[in-house]
Amino acid sequence: MRLLRPALLAALLAIAVAACGSSSKTTSSSGAGKPAVVIGDKNFTEEYILGDLYQQALAAKGFKVTLKPNIGSSEITYKALTSGQIDMYPEYTGVILSVIAGITTPPHSAAEAYSLAKAYVAKHGLTLTAPTPFYDSDALGTLKTFATKNHLTTISDLKKLGHSLIVGGAPEFATRQEGLLGLKQVYGLNPTFKPLSIGLTYKALDSGQVQLSDVFTTDPPLTTGKYTILTDPKFVFGFQNVAPIVKQSVLAAEGPAFQQTLDAVSALLTIPAIQKMNAAVALDQQSPAAVAHAFLVANHLA
C-alpha cells in the first residue's frame, strides 16, 4: 500500500517519457546532452532556406538548435556571431574575404577562396565546415534579347557598348569590390548605377529601366530562359560557395556528429537543388521551412 503511490508515479512518468519520445519523428540522439546552439541567417531568401536546412537537419539528429532568421546584412550577422548572439551562420566564401576580411585581391579558384576564408576566421576563434558545391555569385544578368542583339557573352563584351549603360542592383552593389568597383577597376567599365531592392532586379530588366542587373547565379528566374548571365572571365564576382561559419568552441562541444550533419547537408546543395528551392520560395511563395523540410526528407536527413 505504501508503495502504490510511488509506483503509480513512476509508471506515469515512464508513460509520459515514452509518449514524448515517440511523438517526435526522429529517433537519433547524437545531439542528446549537448549544449544548445543558435543558428542565424542573413536577410534574403536563400539564407532563410540554408538556415532552415541546417537547423532542421541538426534537430533531426537530436541537437537542440534554435534558428534566429533574418538578422541583417553580412556585417550585422557576422557581428552577431562574434558578439555571441548566435553560434553559427551560413556565409559565402567570397563575402568573407571581401566584406569581412577586407581582402581585395581576388582568389583564383573556389578552393583558394575557401582556404583563405577559413584561415581568416580562424584568427577569431571561428572555423568553416565543408563548403557547398553551389556558388551564389553576383552576375550581370540581362534580357536574352538584349544579349543576342548586342552579341554579348562575357562582361568584357560590354566595353564596346560605350558609356550609355545603366546597371541596376541592390544599393550595396555600388560600393562592393564584387560590384561596381570591380567592374570599373578590372573591366574598365563605367556604367550608371540605379539602386533597386533585391526583389525588383528582374522587373527592372523587363521594363527597360536598366539594361543590366546585378543578379545571382542561383536566382529562379534564370531557369525560365528569358534572361541570361554574362560570364565573368576575370572573376570579379569571385567565388561564392557557402560554408557555415561556426565557433570553434561550439564545434568542439557538440561533438563530431554535429559537423558530420552540417557537411552531409552541404554536400547535397548543388546549383539546381538551390535554384529549385529558391523558386519554390520566391515564385511559389512557399515558406523556407517547408521547402527545406521537403528537401531534407527526400534525402533522408529529416
Binding site: N43, F44, T45, K68, P69, N70, I71, G72, I76, A80, Q85, A110, A111, Y114, S115, T129, A130, P131, P133, S197, I198, G199, L200, K203, N241, D263, S266, A267, L268, L269, T270, P272, A273, K276, M277, A279, A280, V281, A282, L283, D284, Q285, Q286, S287, A289, A290, V291, A294, F295, V297, A298, N299
Partner: protein
C-alpha cells in the same frame, strides 16, 4: 577535412508541390486564398501573436511607468515639466531612428523593441493621466477631504475614478500607436506583423502577403481601438451622460 566542391552524389530534388497549385502565387494576383490557408499557422498567426505580445508588454510597462510619473507630478508640480520634455523628445523621434539608435547597445532582440515602444507610450499616457487627475473639480476633492478621507483614500476612491475617462483614453491611444509602430520593430527583432510585410516587399512584392499582413495590422489596431472604447464606456458609465 576534405574540401568538397563537387557533390559526392546528386541530391534528390523533390517536387515542391504541383506547379499548377501555385498558379495564383506565380501570377502574383492580389489575393491568393490558398497561400493564406497554407501559411496561416506558420507565418501569419505567429506574426499576429508576436504583435499582440509586443503590444501588451509595451502598453503595460508604459502604463505602470507613466502612471507612476503622473502621480508624482500630481503631487509635485515642478516634476511635470522635465517629464514632459523627456517624453516629448522620445515621442518626436521617428520610430525608425529610435530603433536604430537603441539597437547597437541593447542588441537585436525584443528588449530593444520594447524599450522603444514603451518610450512612445509615455507622453500620451502621462499627459492624459495627469490632465485627468487635475480636472477633478476642487469641490469634489474638498468634499472627499470633508468626509474624512486622507490623500491616498481620496486618490483611490475619488480622484482616480473620476480621471478614468482620460486615463483610458490615454491607454487607448497608446495601444493603437504601439500597434502601428510595432510593425517597424520587425526590423530589429524579426517579430510581429512587420515581418511578413517586409518579407513580402523583398520577395518580388508578393501582393497577397502584403495585403493580408498589412490588413491584419490595420484590423488589429481598429479592433483594439474599438474594444478599448467599449472598455472606457463600461468603466465610466457616468461619463456617457455627460458627453451626450
Amino acid at each position: 577535412m576534405t574540401v568538397l566542391l563537387a557533390a559526392a552524389h546528386a541530391p534528390v530534388i523533390p517536387n515542391f508541390g504541383n506547379p499548377s497549385s501555385f498558379a495564383c502565387e506565380r501570377a502574383n494576383r492580389l489575393f491568393c486564398s490558398d497561400w493564406v490557408s497554407h501559411n496561416w499557422s506558420t507565418v501569419l498567426w505567429p506574426a499576429l501573436r508576436q504583435h499582440l505580445v509586443l503590444t501588451l508588454i509595451a502598453v503595460s510597462l508604459g502604463f505602470v511607468i507613466s502612471t507612476t510619473l503622473a502621480l508624482i507630478a500630481y503631487r509635485r508640480r515642478w516634476f511635470e515639466r522635465p517629464v514632459l520634455i523627456v517624453t516629448s523628445i522620445l515621442y518626436t523621434i521617428p520610430s525608425l531612428a529610435l530603433f536604430e539608435l537603441l539597437a547597437p547597445s541593447l542588441g537585436l532582440n525584443r528588449t530593444t523593441a520594447e524599450v522603444a515602444l514603451v518610450s512612445y507610450t509615455l507622453l500620451i499616457m502621462f499627459r492624459n493621466t495627469l490632465t485627468g487627475l487635475r480636472e477633478v473639480p476642487d469641490e469634489v476633492r474638498d468634499a472627499a477631504a470633508g468626509m474624512g478621507m486622507g490623500p491616498l483614500q481620496s486618490l483611490l476612491r475619488v480622484e482616480l475614478p473620476l480621471a478614468l475617462p482620460a486615463i483610458t483614453a490615454g491607454v487607448r491611444i497608446a495601444t493603437v500607436t504601439v500597434i502601428s509602430l510595432a510593425t517597424v520593430a520587425a526590423l530589429i527583432d524579426n517579430e510581429g506583423l512587420g515581418v511578413p510585410i517586409l518579407t513580402a516587399i523583398s520577395n518580388e512584392v508578393f501582393k497577397t502577403e502584403l495585403i493580408v499582413a498589412g490588413g491584419m495590422a490595420v484590423g488589429l489596431a481598429l479592433a483594439a481601438d474599438g474594444l478599448l472604447v467599449l472598455v472606457q464606456r463600461w468603466l465610466t458609465p457616468w461619463a456617457r451622460a455627460r458627453s451626450a
